[in-house]
């Protein structure tokens, strides 16, 4: 369960200080699917970074279960990201020189698994997203939808508790968007994940159990 209490995040831009998040207080129970919407520059990605242990707030606390993400050092935040949180990015962020199989395996590298274990788990993850026969392909040899499936496999191969998706369908056409959202929803249901999706797309947001709106760093529940 996530618990954010009075989270504020400020960035220095030259002599100016920009407030990306302002006193955000939020609780997300385990297993919930949440959509976060808002205009560009409203603070969506900053909030996702706080939830994903990628950054620390300027003020306030962020708890994931027992762990206080606002206080932990870089090393421990890295361990939490490696074990508990999966990321899916708008631009897929696959490593272009690695095959689909190897890209998925990168998520297992920090866990210290053996080669055979890594291979079998990555293959199973690709199978789960419908790309069992594309493991040897480079990202450039795959369509956008397939690349995002590989990214989802990479996020889920370590069996995290939380999946954070930042505009996961932003680079996809409508048909592929629906396929990817069907896949994410299915995985969320099957695995009991906490799924948090940042999106501009209302069609995507409507699929979530809970919708949040963030504007100028201020978070509001959407009825």
């Amino acid at each position: 369960m996530y618990e954010l209490t009075n989270v504020t995040k400020k960035y220095d831009q030259g002599k100016r200080s920009v407030t990306a998040l302002s006193n955000v207080t939020l609780t997300i129970p385990d297993g919930q699917m949440v959509a976060i919407q808002g205009p560009t520059g409203g603070g969506k990605s900053t909030l996702l970074q706080m939830l994903g242990a990628l950054d620390r707030p300027t003020a306030g606390t962020v708890h994931l279960g027992e762990a206080d993400l606002s206080r932990l050092g870089d090393g421990k935040l890295g361990v939490i990201r490696a074990t508990k949180i999966g990321f899916v990015f708008q631009g897929f962020n696959l490593i272009p020189t690695l095959t689909a199989q190897e890209n998925v395996e990168t998520a297992l590298a920090p866990l210290g698994l053996g080669h055979a274990d890594r291979r079998s788990r990555a293959a199973a993850a690709l199978e789960a997203v419908g790309l069992g026969d594309r493991g040897g392909h480079l990202p450039a040899e795959l369509s956008g939808g397939q690349q995002q499936r590989v990214a989802i496999a990479r996020a889920l191969v370590k069996e995290p508790a939380v999946l954070l998706a930042d505009e996961p369908t932003g680079n996809l056409d409508e048909g592929t968007r629906d396929e990817i959202m069907d896949l994410l929803e299915g995985l969320w249901r099957d695995r009991g994940l906490t799924l948090i999706v940042v999106t501009h797309d209302s069609a995507v947001a409507r699929r979530a159990q809970r919708r949040l709106q963030i504007k100028q760093g201020v978070l509001k529940e959407v009825a």
């Binding site: 990605s45 970074q49 994903g52 990628l54 950054d55 870089d74 090393g75 890295g78 361990v79 990201r81 490696a82 074990t83 999966g86 990321f87 990015f89 708008q90 631009g91 962020n93 490593i95 272009p96 020189t97 690695l98 190897e102 395996e105 990168t106 998520a107 590298a109 920090p110 866990l111 890594r118 990479r154 996020a155 370590k158």
Partner: protein, 485 residues
């Protein structure tokens, strides 16, 4: 994962890998070639010096000749005086013959007790004394002169002499003689010669009238092993023939005889002209030189380094070229190669910001990313190193196939002693004994050269990897991802 990722990255970014590897390869090849040629030049210098001063000689001790004293009327060693009763008169012709054995012109002798002084110096592992001599033989035939008679007016024309008409005929022959300790072959003249016939001098030859001849001289003088050679009017049995490494070497002579015999025959009892010294190790040479200089203040003490500075000719030019241009060129190219490797690595890290941000987001630690970047750079460096070794060895092969011949000249400076009439020598001026030889330059391949190449490639790779890795480790995952959003 490390190996797979590394392999994929290097294969996937062939252009960058190739540029870094080529830069590193050229630099390392240049270092290898310059290093090998430098070794070859040093070997050539050592060969020249060994041929001149003997194998294993680290230090030479000699005494600077002093200028003749004013009013010296001795006439020098080249002057032959004959009395009226000298010679053998036959049929109106008087034949005279005389041999003299004197110290070689331009050298000076000093007390042989200096050898014991030198040997007593700390860290002297061997020393050998020599006496450089010149044997001059005068042969002549002239009309028999009857004292107290003056030719009368209308007397018959002069008779006698080699032409029967009162003429004369003279022949002056000279050859060099080196007196040496027959027991010492490790250092000094005997170390710089090769036995071609018979035997060399041994400890048992001390005091004996035996000689070893330079084979070229023996041929020209029609002498052979088993025959005799007359030195200062005394017959010496020829026991062997040798070939000097260089005919112009300071230690080369036409005839080699035991030192004690040479001293006795030349009247230079207890005198030597040179001492050749071997230090216990190369690190002791400076100390030994200094100590000998203090113990024998009247002598000139020279080391191989001093001797090396006397090497001139194209060998000297090659040495200067390697030392100056070659060294700096290697350093500049090496620095450029390292810089290229660092810049490409840093540029690669900047280009891969999203990649590293993503890896950090999925849990990769800074250490793991630094290792990955450093590993890639290291392998690029090693690829460059391997190519550099191959190119370098090829370059060395070309040098050895071309085998350029260098001319080496050595000059040893000595002040001239008193000169005899007609000897053509100055008084007190510096006389230079020059020796030249042709040396084929070879570039040896040594393990150290290969190790240096491998070390440089590892160093270059690690340097680039360390800087690139440091830059990658400074990327904060959120910022890395935000920068490409």
């Amino acid at each position: 994962m490390f190996i797979t990722y590394l392999r994929r990255e290097l294969a996937g970014r062939r252009k960058q890998t190739a540029i870094v590897a080529i830069g590193m390869a050229l630099a390392i090849a240049l270092v290898i070639i310059v290093n090998a040629v430098s070794s070859g030049v040093q070997l050539a210098q050592a060969t020249v010096l060994e041929s001149v001063y003997g194998v294993g000689t680290d230090i030479t001790v000699s005494q600077t000749p002093t200028a003749p004293t004013a009013g010296d009327t001795s006439g020098g060693p080249q002057r032959f005086d004959f009395g009226a009763a000298d010679g053998t008169a036959t049929d109106g012709t008087t034949t005279v013959s005389r041999s003299r054995l004197n110290a070689t012109r331009g050298t000076s002798t000093f007390d042989s007790t200096a050898l014991a002084t030198v040997t007593a110096v700390d860290n002297v592992s061997g020393a050998s004394a020599t006496l450089a001599l010149e044997n001059t033989t005068f042969n002549g035939a002239l009309p028999t002169f009857t004292p107290g008679t003056a030719p009368a007016e209308g007397a018959t024309p002069p008779e006698g002499g080699p032409d029967g008409a009162g003429g004369s005929s003279f022949n002056v022959d000279s050859f060099s003689v080196l007196g040496l300790d027959p027991a010492d072959e490790a250092v000094g003249p005997l170390s710089a010669v090769t036995l071609t016939d018979g035997r060399s001098l041994t400890k048992a030859d001390a005091g004996a009238h035996v000689a070893v001849l330079d084979s070229s001289y023996a041929t020209s003088a029609s002498l052979a092993t088993g025959g005799t050679v007359a030195i200062a009017g005394t017959d010496f049995t020829i026991v062997g023939l040798v070939t000097a490494a260089s005919a112009d070497a300071a230690t080369a002579a036409n005839v080699y005889i035991p030192l004690d015999v040479a001293q006795t025959l030349s009247g230079l009892t207890g005198q030597v002209s040179n001492i050749y010294v071997q230090a216990a190790s190369s690190t002791d040479i400076a100390q030994v030189q200094s100590d000998i200089g203090k113990a024998l203040p009247a002598t000139t003490v020279k080391t191989q380094a001093d001797l090396a500075s006397s090497v001139s000719g194209s060998l000297s030019s090659a040495s200067d070229l390697v030392k100056n241009l070659g060294l700096w060129l290697s350093l500049i190219v090496l620095a450029a190669a390292f810089l290229i490797a660092v810049l490409f690595t840093v540029s690669g890290v900047t280009r891969r910001t999203r990649e590293f941000g993503t890896l950090k987001a999925i849990g990769w630690s800074n250490g793991k990313i630094v290792r990955q970047v450093a590993g890639e750079s290291l392998v690029q460096g090693l690829i460059g190193g391997a190519a550099g070794i191959a190119i370098g060895l090829l370059g060395i092969l070309v040098v050895n196939l071309v085998a350029p011949t260098l001319t080496a000249g050595t000059t040893s400076v000595a002040a001239a002693g008193p000169g005899g009439p007609g000897a053509g020598r100055g008084f007190g001026g510096a006389a230079q004994a020059a020796a030249t030889s042709d040396i084929v330059l070879t570039a040896p391949v040594t393990v150290s050269v290969i190790l240096i190449a491998v070390g440089l490639s590892v160093l270059g790779g690690l340097l680039a990897g360390a800087i690139g890795g440091w830059r990658a480790s400074r990327l904060r995952p959120a910022e890395a991802l935000r920068s490409i959003a």
